[in-house]
Symmetry: C2
Subunit: 578 residues, 2 copies
């Protein structure tokens, strides 16, 4: 299995140039002196879950926020660390490969060696299986040379995506003890970071000195909160997909005879579909979050698309591009219910060709209504995270099929008088995740060890074991608002935008994800800003100031405190998870 | 239909930069003086067809080759044209959109206006239908501004791909007469250029003064011969697809658990698959030409892939990437025979659900053996060029299905002892053809009016009307030889190469197609070189030279002439079409 891992690769000219690119570090991570300010205790994303989580994570819950400071920052009580004993750290790829993974390893190796040249970084070969089997490769600058700024996870490989069963956790513990690791870094998505959080607690309980660190690297863009504004890989994935979507838009506009249905990555969350829509301006996007929130049925979705097709036909337009995330199928309430029944039966050991006869009458009726190819795909065994095998379910073909049938019906009935509806379907799944990472992802991944306390602040599911919630598209957020504002224009006016292929020089090379630009990010920056205002007031209103100033300040601050208290108690009750 | 054509587009930053790029003209097309050397009469690619072709094209066959010369060229009998009366030219997009189409229009407009500012270029809106309906847009630099160096055909659009029936040809003739066109430029692939050749003959017969010019712009890379080394669009298509293939290779190498089956564009010819293989080094490629030449059956192909999977499993490798062109399905002899039967029945009006019962026993046996999804796709009505609806036939899924079944069988029988075989299928079809064109295609398309006599030298089918042969991959050519030399290494050693995303600056931006670089091109250049040698001999051996020199020259030239005469007569009989 591991024969090919870690060997030097033959690089193309472009790859060679990219391998020479040196990512920039944020000021707070430059130099060998580390300055940390410890802040408030971390809490759960949803206050209602804090009790459950603190009970499940008695040793790791509620640790203080660590804020890394630049050399010029004036924070009197900052911890200044100048001594760095040699450390032994292990690193492992878990979960689906995403652009930027190699740079996390490179950045960590550089940081370890800068702080103490005697530190050691061990990469586990073959993902979590390599971790259990103690198969390691010592990371050196030499080993990294043909992997710097390159895509894929092929430096170390990956296998199974979980460290969860008692056997797996014990194997990880044994490895960390045997190899005398000070730290274990797990690079992965939602599931792997949930595992990392659990592992940290288990290690603490077992008094194992190895610190567990989760690094959010995933395609889906769903590992983010107020401290981690996006995850590594998302920018590249969206850039590569946007290029292809834009090409298809140009194609649609040139031939004017096809509707393209494009399924994108994105399981519980539709961030990729939203970002690509803001980048490429296709005619329509169906977000899983919208469908779930409005409880739209398959029939509703079909009608919605057909009405759009009809409205466009009235303007003599017979082409269009429609995006949807692969997770959409699970967001449709009746399909989700059907999938739950199927998965339940499969887990009971019912053979897939006997499932349909054992479904409830309602689920059976829906199942029989679906075309054969989808039936077959819905009968696939669920994945380890309980979701359906989303990459295998051709939701784009299902919708195209239903829309085609409905448009033919309208044509026959005379309610639609346009030309025949033609659909072409695409799944943009695996072709982006091995991409050479964008500059953004190179830089971000290289500097990624900043978030090492992040995995200790998981959200929770309402029943059972706490787990990290994938951050879904915030239907009250600015990115979604931007989409809604433009939805009608995008639908009717073909305002297709073409960001072009991923560039490393010139326009677009330094572009950030649009959703990141429009969302209110820099949470910590704004907290700092607020503290500066408070400090200013304190400086102005001190012994010696006039009675007028004091009275004005008192009156204003009393009402400010009042308003904020009221707002806080309201928002606690109706908080949307961040 | 034409409401959106020709309107200014909103460009992204990268597109704006691209729109400012000025393609370079070859020296022979620079300036306002045109120098042409007329050469030998053009002949058919296959000498055996020359009689048929000359009979079908009595007015346009056998015109002299026109060789454009640079200002510094010393050719005594060159025609030097300095007077350029104002011309009226029409231009139309036919066939599938390919990157670079807009630059053909831009380049032609620039050339017309440089030679005479009073010349007019009219674009037909909506492809051949616009040509028949006389819907035009006058091309100006202003109209072109947001289309320069951009992908798609959306400046003018396209509709039906043919100008062939008497009605269509007459409509085209009327348009050219009504609009008083001196020239009609048809931008398209094999079919459109066949139509262009036929139209030129018909116009000549009807004494219509409009000259018809075909410009080879197609995805497939199959419009080439010794004078046209490649067609516009091919470079971009291969670059975009190679990027995606390389990403998938990286993916395969990272997870080590999937075989990816990727279907590419390429109907009668597998140039795209060959070029992408040389660019990305996937493990295997199946070229239609190889399959047809070796008469490989579905069973042979399945066995070939399974043996490869098994050989890799013995090296503990359970991943791989396999490319195939969409035309492969028609290259498999027994499937081709089946398709012919199906298409015959469909043309007789037999409903698709009645076809299977009316097939010959042999065809019926094959049909029943195939999985349902392929059956359905094979039953689709053939396209206007008589081929199956190749973009709709998922040959990659068929092969993955057959390989999976065979590997399971081998596993059960114990002849294969490795892990379960897992396949993921992709069709890289429509996502590349709307791409922003590469620098190569921008330059090449802009300079494309050099080949205006090209359409008058068509190959011929053996029966019926002459048509342009798509140039297939030459199994004796250097590009194929390079592939064969590396095939085993590519298969076993995962020498994946990643040219990266299409760049416009830095490494790779100026890369040419590899097949173009390795093939013996520059045919005309080498003919010139030969002529220079002959001239040198003439200069050396002239009255006044010594007897020894004269004798040596005579003796050498006698044997040279002898050898070449023998070689020529042999190669005439066994010539591979160029």
């Amino acid at each position: 299995m591991d024969s090919d891992f870690g060997i030097p690769r033959e690089l193309s000219e472009l790859q060679k140039l990219r391998s020479l690119y040196q990512p920039e570090l944020p000021p707070c991570l430059q130099g060998t002196t580390v300055r940390v300010e410890f802040g408030d205790a971390t809490t759960a994303a949803d206050v209602a879950d804090s009790h459950t989580i603190s009970r499940s994570f008695p040793r790791t819950y509620g640790q203080p926020l660590a804020h890394f400071l630049r050399a010029t920052a004036k924070v009197p009580d900052a911890h200044i660390i100048t001594e760095h004993p040699a450390m032994r750290v292990g690193i492992v790829f878990c979960g689906r490969q995403s652009p930027g993974g190699h740079n996390v390893i490179w950045g960590l190796n550089s940081a370890l060696k800068i702080h103490n040249p005697n530190s050691t970084l061990l990469g586990f070969l073959g993902g979590s299986e390599g971790l259990f089997a103690q198969k390691t490769l010592e990371i050196t600058d030499d080993v990294l040379s043909t992997y710097k700024n390159q895509g894929g996870y092929d430096l170390l490989g990956r296998t199974k995506d979980q460290i969860r069963t008692t056997e797996q956790v014990n194997a990880a513990l044994t490895t960390c003890k045997d190899l005398k690791l000070d730290g274990l870094v797990i690079i992965g998505g939602v599931t792997s970071n949930t595992d990392a959080a659990q592992l940290a607690e288990t290690f603490a309980e077992a008094k194992c000195p190895t610190k567990v660190v989760g690094v959010p690297v995933t395609l889906n863009g769903d590992l983010k909160n107020q401290f981690v504004e996006t995850n590594v890989g998302f920018d590249t994935i969206c850039k590569v997909n946007s290029q292809l979507i834009s090409n298809v838009c140009t194609d649609a506009l040139s031939a004017e005879k096809y509707y393209y249905f494009i399924r994108l990555m994105g399981r519980k969350a539709s961030h990729v579909a939203l970002e690509c829509t803001l980048q490429s301006h296709p005619n329509m996007v169906i977000l899983g979050e919208e469908v779930a929130a409005s409880k739209l049925t398959l029939f509703d979705l079909t009608k919605q698309i057909c009405d759009a097709v009809q409205a466009r036909a009235e303007q003599d337009k017979y082409h269009g591009v429609i995006l949807l995330p692969e997770g959409l199928i699970e967001s449709i309430p009746e399909v989700y219910a059907l999938l739950k029944e199927i998965h339940g039966l499969l887990r009971q050991g019912v053979a897939s060709n006997n499932i349909s006869s054992q479904l409830s009458p309602w689920a059976s009726a829906l199942f029989e209504f679906l075309p054969p190819f989808i039936k077959k795909q819905l009968l696939l065994y669920p994945e380890s995270d309980d979701s359906a095998q989303l990459s295998q379910i051709e939701t784009e073909k299902l919708l195209a099929h239903l829309v085609e049938a409905e448009m033919s019906k309208r044509l026959k009935e005379g309610t639609y008088k346009g030309k025949k509806f033609n659909a072409i379907c695409h799944f943009f799944g695996y072709q982006a995740r091995g991409s050479v990472p964008s500059k953004f992802d190179c830089d971000y991944a290289y500097a990624m060890m900043t978030v090492k306390r992040w995995a200790q602040s998981p959200g929770a599911t309402s029943i059972g074991k706490p787990a990290i919630h994938p951050a879904t598209v915030d239907l009250k957020g600015k990115a979604y608002e931007l989409l809604r504002q433009n939805a009608v224009k995008f639908l009717m006016d073909d305002l297709y935008r073409n960001p072009g292929p991923l560039q490393f020089e010139g326009p677009g090379a330094d572009a950030k994800p649009l959703t990141l630009c429009v969302e209110d990010q820099d949470y910590m920056g704004r907290i700092k800003e607020l503290q500066e205002y408070l400090d200013k007031v304190r400086t102005i209103v001190k012994p010696g100031c006039s009675q007028e100033v004091l009275k004005a300040a008192l009156s204003v601050m009393a009402s400010v405190t009042d308003v904020l208290s009221t707002m806080s108690s309201t928002s606690l009750n109706s908080q949307t998870p961040l």
